[in-house]
Every structure is written in structure tokens, then in C-alpha cells.
């Protein structure tokens, strides 16, 4: 995973009008995004799940509708946290929009590589060079940033390859 050019979008309105020492910073958001992908790639399921608010909603990359994050996490655990699954993301630029002192939006394009285990026992691999992510973060009462909404997609149709020997 790489992090290079970083842009920041701040809103010159009320969000920055008052000094809030606990206000979300763009670098803090980028660090959480990087942590998100590190935990995903290293399959640290417990810590990964803690990144989501209990009421978060998600558009998974291949889903036809949004769903509670809790449901998506069960599916990710089954398909992507097993010993033969693998996930990697190469991120270049993470845009951060600071909407309020406790609310920010991260959006970025990335190259997603995934090997997953399907419910029918097959293993499939996909390269998604033009993946796109929107993640909305909110600071909770404990001061921790949590994802309250996520939208993952691909700009181009995704080609999936069944792996031999599965």
C-alpha cells in the first residue's frame, strides 16, 4: 500500500469557525483509511470490525443495494478472512472533506486485488484497477473515528477468474 500525493478539501464555513481541539484532521482520517486496509489485508477481523459504527450502512462493490455493515462484515469474514483468501489495495491519493468537527468524508481511487472463497467452495481472483471508495467517518462518544457509511465501486466491469484446483 502506498500513500503519495495527498489533497485536502476544507469547508471555509462554520466547521472551521470555532476552535475545537478534538476536531477531526485530514491526516487523522487518512491514517484511519490506511489502517482500514492494513487490517483488511492482514485479516485482523476483530479490529477491522471495530472500524464500523453499529448503525453503519454500506454499498459493497458488487452489491445491488445498500445493507447494514453488520451483514457485510459477516460476508467479508466468510469470503475474505479465511486462510486462503487475500486482499491488497494500492492507494495513491486520499481526498478528505472535513464537514464538521466530528464528521469527515474520505474518497479515493485504488487498485484492488482480491482472492476470495465463495459459498460454493470455489476460489476466485479479481484485479480491480479502477476501484473507488467513499467512506464517511464520525467521531463517537469515546473519541474514536468510526465509518458510518461506505460506498465501494469499480469504474469498469470486474473480471473474475476461477482459480485452478478449487
Amino acid at each position: 500500500m502506498t500513500g503519495s500525493t495527498l489533497k485536502e478539501m476544507t469547508r471555509p464555513a462554520s466547521a472551521t469557525a470555532t476552535l475545537d481541539t478534538n476536531a477531526i484532521g485530514a491526516e487523522e482520517v487518512r491514517a484511519v483509511v490506511q489502517r482500514f486496509w492494513k487490517l483488511f489485508a492482514t485479516k485482523e477481523q476483530g479490529e477491522f470490525e471495530k472500524l464500523y459504527s453499529p448503525s453503519a450502512t454500506v454499498f459493497a462493490a458488487d452489491a445491488r443495494r445498500s445493507e447494514p455493515a453488520s451483514l457485510m462484515l459477516v460476508r467479508r469474514a466468510r469470503e475474505l478472512f479465511g486462510p486462503t483468501a487475500a486482499v491488497a489495495a494500492k492507494i495513491t491519493t486520499i481526498d478528505v472533506q472535513l464537514l464538521r468537527s466530528d464528521l469527515a468524508v474520505a474518497s479515493y481511487a485504488f487498485h484492488f486485488s482480491v482472492t476470495r472463497n465463495l459459498p460454493n467452495g470455489k476460489r476466485v481472483s479479481s484485479e480491480v484497477p479502477y476501484s473507488r471508495a467513499t467512506q464517511v467517518f464520525q467521531r463517537n462518544e469515546r473519541g474514536t473515528l468510526r465509518i458510518i457509511h461506505e460506498h465501494m465501486s469499480s469504474a469498469e466491469p470486474v473480471c473474475t477468474q476461477e482459480l485452478a484446483g478449487t
Binding site: 454499498f59 464537514l99 467513499t134 457509511h149 465501486s153
Partner: protein, 160 residues
């Protein structure tokens, strides 16, 4: 000025967006966006400025033979803060316009997915500050007859 947005306010703003995009309203699409808005349009490989994307969409839809129609499913609204709301929904959208080769092209998105984040600006107006449009399956692209038969701009969604 009501400081707290309601779910119905958000749904009305979403409908306003699609009414403009479908040619049912002559309002300016650009005016719906915050000056610093970022958007992922359906096929873009990276995000871009919301107002810029709006100008491009308006130009594409303003041709003499351009037409479009949309249909939205239920709009889920998360009220993230008194002045911020997240709308998520699925949609179908069909647009017909002259393509780069001069022929008429109809593009139909049957499994569209939308996230739109609204925030109240300093003047009390609700603006889109972030938008992510995508499709669960690739849009269908067809070449259509130049003379538009009656009713072609309104696909029968349920039969496709």
C-alpha cells in the same frame, strides 16, 4: 430557517436532482452542489469537482435530441448531524443523446447505486457536498433510430 434537516427534506432534494437530470426541471444542476463538492460519476476512474461534473452533465443533456428518464427506489436517509445528511438509494436511469460517431446512443443503467451527502451552507441552503454514483452491473449501451419513436425515452423498467 430550520436548522435541522428532516429525512423528507433530503428525499425532496434527491428528487430535485433527478428531475433536473431527467429534463423535468429547468433548474440549474450546478446550483445543487457545494463549490467544494467531490463526486464519483458512474464511470469516472477518479473523483472530480461536483460543479464541474454538473456543467458537463448539463451540456450533455442539453442537446436538441437528448432525453432522459429516471426511476428511484426508496431513499434511505441517515441524519449524521443537524446540518449533514446521507442519502442512499438505488435507481434506474436511461439517457439518449448523439454519440461521438454521430449516431444516437441510449445508455441504460438498471442497477444504479447512489450515495449523496448533503450539508446546509451558510445561507441555509442544502447542497450536495459529496456524491458517489455507481452501477452493480455495467450499463446497457444501444444504438437507437435517429427518429425517436413515441415513448422510447421511458423504458419499461420491470420488463428489462
Amino acid at each position: 430557517m430550520n436548522a435541522q434537516i428532516s429525512a423528507e427534506d433530503v428525499r425532496a432534494e434527491v428528487q430535485r436532482f433527478w428531475n433536473i437530470l431527467s429534463g423535468k426541471s429547468s433548474e440549474n444542476l450546478e446550483s445543487l452542489y457545494s463549490a467544494t463538492a467531490l463526486v464519483f460519476t458512474g464511470r469516472a476512474k477518479r473523483s472530480e469537482s461536483g460543479p464541474l461534473a454538473a456543467v458537463r452533465r448539463s451540456r450533455q443533456m442539453s442537446g436538441p435530441d437528448a432525453s432522459a428518464s429516471s426511476e428511484l427506489d426508496s431513499i434511505e436517509v441517515q441524519l449524521a448531524a443537524p446540518d449533514v445528511a446521507i442519502a442512499t438509494y438505488t435507481y434506474r436511469f436511461s439517457s439518449t443523446r448523439t454519440g461521438k460517431t454521430g449516431g444516437r446512443e441510449q445508455r441504460t443503467t438498471l442497477s444504479g447505486r447512489s450515495t449523496q451527502i448533503f450539508q446546509r451552507d451558510d445561507k441555509g441552503a442544502w447542497k450536495i457536498v459529496h456524491e458517489h454514483l455507481s452501477s452493480a452491473v455495467p450499463p446497457k449501451l444501444e444504438t437507437v433510430a435517429r427518429t425517436k419513436p413515441e415513448g422510447i425515452t421511458k423504458p419499461e423498467w420491470g420488463k428489462q
